[in-house]
Symmetry: C2
Subunit: 354 residues, 2 copies
C-alpha cells in the first residue's frame, strides 16, 4: 500500500438536498448523518485508516478550498481546479501530478459525499482493489446490493480473475446505467451485479495511458498542467488550459470503454453504502426528524435548523426541511425533483438562496 | 337607529389557523386579509358606519383587553369577562348592562373574526334587523349562500312577515347544524335556507326575557353582575358570579328554542361573508401566497411571516405557514385538523407555542 494515493473529488453540489446543501456549503461539507463529522471528514477518516495524511488528495474548486482546508487540517494535498469539469479532469489531474512525482503511484478515487457503514470492510476492499490495480487492470469496488435500487448504476461481473491478495476479483462485463425496477430486480437475483459507487483504483501510468488513447485532447491538457504543477507556472497553466478540457465523467471517459476491452476488474464491497442522493435516501438511512415535530395523521422526515417547531397534518411520507432562510416541503416520492428548486431560484436571480 | 348598540364578542381562539392564530394574538387581532386592519378593526369599521363609537361594545378576556384597546383607540365600551363562558354569557352581559342604562336599547351581536365584502349591504341588513327587533322579535341576518357549504350552520325561513322598513323579513322555521353535502345542495336549491353567521339583533328586554325563561340561573347571574356594573362592586361581583354562569352559545340558549316558538325572524344579507374557519377558507377568499414561493409541480397556499423563501415540490393543494417560531405543513383537505396541533402542543406542555 506504500505506493497508494487516495483522491477525493469534492465538487458535487447536492442540489437534491436543498436547502441544506447550498452552493456555498455543499453536501460534502455537511454533517448529514449527525455524526459530528461532515461527509468529507468521514471520507478522510476512512482513508486515513489505510494511508498517511500526505497520501490523501482532495480536488475541489476555489470557493470551497478554504472550508476544505478548515475541515481537514491534516490535508497537504489540495488540488484546486479553477472550475468544475466533471470527474475525469479532476481525477486525471491528480493522476498526472502524482504520476510525475511517483513513478509507481497507484491512485484510487473516492467521492467526498457518500456514506459507508463498515470501515474495516471498506479497507479490505480497497486493499484488494490495489492488488488488482498492480496487475495493470483498472479496478473498481462493486457494492453488494441490499435491495433492487433504481437510484444507482450497476456493474456486471464475469469470470473470476486469478489475482494474489484479491481472490474475489472478477472481470467487469459491463457498466449499466440506473435500471428500471424489473431490471433492477433481475440484476439483484442474478447475483452477478453490484452497485457502481464510482470507486476506481489504477496505476497512474495505466489510467493516463487509457486517457491518452480514448481522450487524447484531455490527456494532453492534463499533461501540460502536471508539468507546470510543481513550478511557479502552475496557476498560469491552469488558467490557460483548464477551461479547454473536455468535461466528462470517469465512467464515460475510461471505465465503460475499457470494460468492453476486458481491462476492468471488480472487487466486492461487503459494506453498507449510499450516495444520499435525496431526502428519501437520507430518511432511509435512519436519519430521524428534529425532536420538536408534531405529526397529526402524518409521517416522514422533518428537520429544522433553527430550533423551531414543525407540525405536519395529514401528509404521509412528508419531507419538510427548514433552514434559517428557506423552507422545503415535499414528499419522499418527489424527493428527486428537489433539484428543480435551486434551478428555478437561479433563473429568478436568487443566487443567494442556491 | 339611536337606540341600537352593537356588541362584539371577541373571544374565539382560531386554533385551526395555528401558527398564525395564537392564544396571545388570536385570529380576531390578526390582519388575515392583508387589508392593513385586523378582523376586529374591520368589524369595528363596518359598525362605525351605522352607529357612533360609544354604541359599540367589545366583550373580551383580560389577556386580550390591552391589545383590543390598542387596536380600537375610539372604544369606550370594553366589557372584560374574567374567563370565556361561550357567547350567551358574553352577549347577555352586554344586554344586561345596556338594558339597565337605556330602557329602549336594542343590541346586535357581531363576531369579531368574520369577513364581509360589502359594507353598504351589511348596513342595510342591520337596519332591517333593527326594524324587526323593534317589533319584539329576535332578529338574525341570514347570509345568502353562494355555494352548498358544509362548513356553516343554516337558517330555514318560512312565511314573510309584515314589518315596516324590513319587507324582506321572514319567520325562522328552524336553525340547522352544519349539513352533509347532499343536504347542503338541497338547502341551496330550495332557496329558503341561508347561512347562520351568528348575527342576532334584539331588544334587551326581549332577549333578557327569553333568557330568564330558558336559562334562569344564567339570567339571574347576569342581572346580579349588571346591577353592580356601574358601581365600585363590579369586579367583586364579576369574580364571585361569573365562574358559576352556564357556558352556552346564544344559538343553543335562545335562538333555537325561540325559533320553534315562532319568535325569531331572519332578514337576508346580500353580502359576501366568511368566518375564515381554516386555511382552506382563507385561500378560497383569494388570499395569495407570499411572493417568494417556488412551486414545482405543486400549488396551494404558502405564507411566510419571516421573509424567507418557501419551495413546495409535488404537493397539490398544499398549505404551508411559517412563522418565526413554528411551521405548519398540511393540505386543504386536512385544514380542519390543524386545531389538533395546538391541542397536542398543550398536552406536551409547549404552551409557549399555543
Amino acid at each position: 500500500m506504500e505506493s497508494f494515493h487516495a483522491v477525493i473529488p469534492a465538487g458535487g453540489a447536492g442540489t437534491r438536498l436543498w436547502p441544506l446543501s447550498r452552493a456555498s456549503r455543499p453536501k460534502f461539507l455537511l454533517d448529514l448523518t449527525g455524526s459530528g463529522r461532515s461527509l468529507l471528514q468521514e471520507t478522510w477518516d476512512r482513508l486515513r485508516t489505510l494511508v498517511p495524511a500526505d497520501h490523501i488528495h482532495v480536488v475541489t474548486g476555489p470557493t470551497h478550498a478554504p472550508l476544505v482546508r478548515e475541515q481537514l487540517p491534516e490535508l497537504t494535498g489540495l488540488l484546486v481546479e479553477p472550475a468544475p469539469r466533471d470527474s475525469m479532469p479532476a481525477i486525471g489531474l491528480a493522476a498526472a501530478v502524482l504520476g510525475r512525482r511517483h513513478e509507481e503511484a497507484i491512485i484510487g478515487s473516492f467521492a467526498a459525499d457518500h456514506v459507508i457503514d463498515d470501515v474495516a470492510e471498506f479497507g479490505a476492499a480497497v486493499q484488494a482493489a490495489v492488488a488488482v490495480a498492480e496487475t495493470g487492470l483498472l479496478a473498481t469496488i462493486g457494492i453488494e446490493p441490499r435491495n433492487p435500487s433504481t437510484a444507482f448504476g450497476y456493474i456486471e461481473s464475469g469470470e473470476r480473475l486469478d489475482v494474489d491478495d484479491a481472490p474475489s476479483a472478477r472481470a467487469v462485463t459491463q457498466f449499466v446505467e440506473k435500471p428500471d425496477e424489473p431490471t433492477a430486480t433481475h440484476y439483484m437475483r442474478s447475483g452477478s451485479f453490484s452497485w457502481n459507487a464510482g470507486m476506481f483504483v489504477a496505476r497512474t501510468d495505466i489510467l493516463l495511458g487509457h486517457l491518452a488513447r480514448l481522450q487524447p485532447h484531455l490527456a494532453a491538457g492534463l499533461d501540460h498542467i502536471a508539468l507546470a504543477w510543481d513550478s511557479p507556472d502552475r496557476q498560469a497553466e491552469l488558467e490557460s488550459t483548464w477551461p479547454s478540457l473536455t468535461p466528462i465523467a470517469i465512467d464515460h471517459a475510461i471505465a465503460e470503454p475499457v470494460s468492453l476491452e476486458g481491462g476492468v476488474a471488480v472487487v466486492p464491497g461487503a459494506f453498507g453504502w449510499d450516495d444520499i442522493g435525496d431526502f428519501a435516501a437520507l430518511h432511509a438511512l435512519g436519519q430521524t426528524s428534529s425532536p420538536d415535530v408534531v405529526w397529526v395523521d402524518a409521517d416522514g422526515f422533518a428537520r429544522t435548523e433553527d430550533g423551531t417547531t414543525i407540525a405536519v397534518v395529514g401528509i404521509r411520507d412528508a419531507v419538510v426541511v427548514r433552514t434559517e432562510d428557506a423552507l422545503l416541503v415535499t414528499t419522499m416520492e418527489h424527493a428527486q425533483r428537489v433539484k428543480d428548486v435551486p434551478a428555478e431560484l437561479r433563473r429568478e436571480g436568487r443566487d443567494d438562496l442556491v
